[in-house]
Amino acid sequence: MTVMEFFGCTFIAFGPPLGLFIFTIARDPLRIIVLIASAFFWLLSLLISSILWYAVVPLRQELAFGLVFSVLFQETFRFLFYKLLRKADRGLQQVSQTGQNANVAPKDISNKHIMAYVSGLGFGIICGAFSLVNVLADMWGPGTIGIKGDSQYFFVASAFLTLCFVFLHTFWGVIFFNAWDKRHYPLIAVVLCSHMLVSCLTLLNQRTSYRSEPLYLASIIPAYVIMFTMAVIAFYTAGGSFRNIMTAVSCKKSSNYIVD
């Protein structure tokens, strides 16, 4: 039975996003709406990529081609969603102010990073789901991969890489939105390039004629390095600092701020 493997991989890939969702999104209707809307935008980008992939018949077998354009479309739709969100600012503000629910605080609108984070997570979750759900469905049993020579670490590697992509999308969301707000174009370039780089790294996981064993570590380690880099950038962008962490760790709750 491969049920243990199934649950293991599910927890690896979707445990952290689930935690984030429960503790930071679930209680707030406005955030849920934005999360779903951003996920929908990611789906639209996927649709466009698919059409292109289908239309360009000769390159259908070339993963790299579809991949590059898929990345471009994703970033385009991230930008479109950013535009939409900024356009909707006023409307959202009204909704949250007139709403009955006391949990919706105007700070969601005023603190731009919150919506950036939420939409980034939306991108991440839907991307993760689409990457892994098919794999997970086939994992249930009774067999595992390998009879055709594939690595037995395929499932675990897939799960970790999916997790990495969920986080990356979240961080890219925060950085990207802030960069457009501040007209800080180099950061946009950083997002685009890192997305392209990580996606292309996954090409290493293909088995080719001259490489029988896929190079999982060669893609996962750089992907996680980039992920942590993005995490640091996003952290500082969102207003965090090392000093703040120390303050938080020392358990002295700052009396200046009230946490809802």
Binding site: I12, L18, L20, I22, K107, D138, I147, V174, D260
Partner: protein
């Protein structure tokens, strides 16, 4: 992987767009390899038992273990630590003894048997193999409860282990695709599972197979038929169907119901039409009973040329040719024929029309049955008679035997009588003698005592075993007309048979030119055993039907009542052609039976090719050849149980389990190392719990951690962004 997923994503969303059911590369295709060259053992049921195989609803998974020697088998039974196993066996290992050892060990979840007849190294034909019982059809024969019961004088099927009648709770398959079998041995077994040379088992990952062969019926035929008929929900379910099909018959004299038809005026010439094997759709049946079918058909053809002479004589006896179906399953066809005869229902009467005069048991003057004819004991045929009836009607029987021997001499067929104290072998005539002991009957067969056919009712009853296959130097295109050794011998047998029947009918020696056609025998053997896409079959069918002829031989298994067998139709047409009249000035449109005359059937045949042309010389045949039901009297025509006949216990009660469309499959795959699995699960749980804790803390401390944000965003009060 990730890239693959992109590929997937692209594909899947595009599928939604365009309804494209293409070759989406799912991970499933990387995990599983489907084995399609297979044929399964399935479940059949009688009044008291279930036999055959089934799997669990979702299939049985077992680690593949290739058994090519006794040592491999012992390793599995004594050492093999990774039970349950699925044994991949060779035909020579697949014997009852080994199968029972595996079954009783409890370490087995399924068996696969390599069945590649083209490949002599992977499939050696065993010296003997018969899944039938050693005393076939005993229970429904005529010797139950007499001194001759239990085959104690002759064990007819000495090599029969009765594997067919065993109930297995695991699936058994034969594998028929060479490349798949080689893959299974090399890439699955040798690569992952083969024990080290010191006998130590291999470690994980192991290569396993999922054998799915789920049957719907259970317990006995009464239960499954009751369940089929008792429908409570809106989705009618089927659990099983009774076995049965049609008998084929034709009479020479075509006496109608208004004419006189004295008692003891009909000679029955019978042959069995069916056999079985353990595996679905593998019923080669060369000796048992194609040899008998072909011999009787060729005799009918020979006699057909003299039918006017027989008809013209008032004192001549009528000849009733019958081909009985379902005989391998407790005499379904013959018991039904007798049942119908006892009720004046054979041939079926019609009101308001003339029809063939019903034949009753009293009408029968002689009974001649041809059994297996291909493997001759001492190069001779053997006449079997019933010792019980012989006590009373020895004169008739003796005279039949004398005539038959004389006809044999004339036709250069060695034929002799077996020991008179010996009972009849399993034969359809037993159904008749069971009801009426005073019918003079002979059974002509190729064995003196035990069956000479070592593959009785098995998948090895092959054309190559009966000298009917073709030398290597003969082109495949010339096979159709090539006269094999068997064809020559069978022609002589048919001649003898035709002359014998003529003699019995006319009480006079037959004309010298009464002989069977070597050409017809040759063609029939080819068409039945090599390929139905042959000129003879094309000639006797309409253009529409001949287009649908299969390339592979048709199965000689009686099958379930709701499906009509191709073999039955083909034999009906052949018999029709041989004993019928060609009608002049008929076209395919008006070649139909008139409403007032049901004596004859009218068959349109597209006929032989015209010379140097692709069009054919079609003909309309008027013939007595027809079919009658071969459904056990224990079942009604609509597949229900006939209470009285069922309870009498005298009739066959076989039914075949139904199964769902996706109920049979084989998949190869790896099963993972349990340690790797546990590690994966633990990592997953740790990550899950850790992330919940971190999220909780981060969310609580968000205002502190992202404090700098406040300075930037003067309007903001708190920030709320965790990492």
């Amino acid at each position: 992987m990730k890239t693959r997923n992109y590929h997937l994503i692209l594909l899947s969303s595009f599928c939604i767009l365009c309804h494209f059911q293409g070759k989406a590369v799912r991970t499933k295709n990387k995990i599983y390899i489907s084995i399609d060259g297979r044929s399964s053992c399935f479940r059949r049921l009688n009044a008291t038992h279930q036999i055959g195989c089934t799997s669990e609803p979702n299939g049985n998974v077992g680690v593949v273990h290739h058994i090519s020697t006794e040592d491999d088998l012992n390793w599995l039974l004594d050492k093999g630590p990774h039970a349950p196993y699925a044994a991949l066996m060779h035909s020579t290992n697949f014997i009852m003894d080994n199968v029972l050892r595996l079954k009783n060990s409890g370490k087995i979840n399924g068996i696969m048997v390599i069945h590649l007849l083209e490949n002599k190294t992977l499939t050696e034909i065993p010296p003997a193999f018969s899944p039938d019982k050693s005393c076939p059809l005993e229970q429904y024969g005529m010797y139950q409860g007499t001194n001759y019961s239990g085959c104690h004088s002759v064990k007819w099927n000495a090599d029969g282990h009765g594997m067919m009648f065993e109930d297995f709770d695991f699936p058994i398959f034969i594998l028929t695709n060479q490349s798949e079998v080689e893959f299974m041995i090399e890439e699955c077994y040798r690569k992952f599972n083969q024990p080290y040379s010191d006998g130590n088992p291999r470690g994980y990952p192991l290569c396993a197979v999922e054998l799915k062969d789920r049957m719907d019926a259970a317990k006995d035929s009464e239960t499954c038929i009751r369940r089929t008929n008792h429908q409570q929900n809106l989705n009618p379910d089927k659990y099983c169907d009774p076995l049965g099909d049609l008998n084929v018959y034709a009479t020479i004299k075509a006496v109608n119901n208004t004419s006189a038809y004295p008692a003891k005026s009909v000679i029955v010439a019978a042959a069995r039409m069916d056999s079985f094997s353990m595996f679905d759709n593998v019923y080669p049946s060369a000796d048992n009973h194609v040899s008998g079918i072909v011999a009787l058909l060729a005799a009918a053809e020979a006699l057909g040329k003299f039918k006017d002479k027989i008809k013209g004589s008032i004192s001549s006896k009528d000849i009733l040719f019958t081909f009985l179906n379902g005989e391998a399953f407790d005499y379904i066809g013959s018991s039904r024929l007798v049942y119908d005869m006892q009720r004046n229902q054979f041939p079926l009467p019609f009101s308001g029309a003339t029809y063939l005069h019903p034949v009753t048991l009293d009408h029968i003057s002689h009974f001649v049955e041809v059994n297996q004819l291909a493997y001759r004991d001492d190069n001779k045929l053997w006449i079997h008679t019933d010792p019980i009836s012989r006590k009373n009607i020895s004169v008739e029987i003796d005279s039949m035997i004398e005539t038959l021997k004389a006809c044999g001499n004339k036709s250069q067929v060695g034929i002799e009588e077996v020991d008179q104290s010996q009972p009849l072998p399993p034969a359809s005539v037993q159904s008749f003698l069971k009801e009426k002991l005073f019918i003079p009957a002979v059974v002509i067969s190729d064995h003196r005592r035990e069956f000479t056919n070592k593959y009785y009712n098995s998948r090895f009853d092959l054309v190559s075993q009966i000298n009917a296959s073709y030398p290597e130097n003969v082109n495949q295109s010339d096979w159709y007309d090539y006269v094999t050794v068997q064809a020559q011998q069978l022609t002589k047998v048919s001649t003898m048979l035709a002359r014998f029947l003529y003699n019995l009918s006319m009480a006079d020696s037959p004309p010298d030119n009464l002989s069977a056609s070597k050409k017809s025998v040759t063609h029939m053997l080819y068409c039945f055993l090599i390929s139905p896409q042959c000129e003879l079959f094309k000639e006797i069918l309409t253009a529409d039907f001949s287009k649908d002829l299969s390339a592979a031989p048709y199965p000689f298994y009686v099958g379930v009542t709701i499906v009509n067998n191709h073999i039955t139709t083909l034999i009906e047409k052949l018999l029709g052609l041989y004993v019928g009249y060609k009608m002049d000035n008929y076209t395919s449109d008006n070649c139909v039976q008139p409403g007032s005359d049901k004596v004859y059937q009218y068959m349109w045949m597209q006929g032989p090719l015209l010379e140097n042309s692709t069009s054919r010389d079609g003909k309309c045949i008027r013939t007595t050849s027809n079919t009658s039901l071969a459904v056990s009297p224990a079942f009604t025509a609509d597949g229900n149980i006939d209470e009285n006949n069922w309870r009498s216990g005298r009739y066959s009660a076989w039914a075949e389990s139904s199964w769902a469309a996706d109920a049979i499959s084989i998949r190869l795959f790896l099963i993972p190392n349990p340690q790797l699995e546990i590690v994966t699960l633990v990592i997953g749980m740790v990550i899950l719990i850790l992330s919940f804790i971190l999220c909780f803390i981060f969310n609580k401390k968000a205002s502190v951690i992202f404090a700098n944000n406040v300075a930037e965003n003067s309007s903001s009060t708190t920030s709320h962004v965790p990492s």
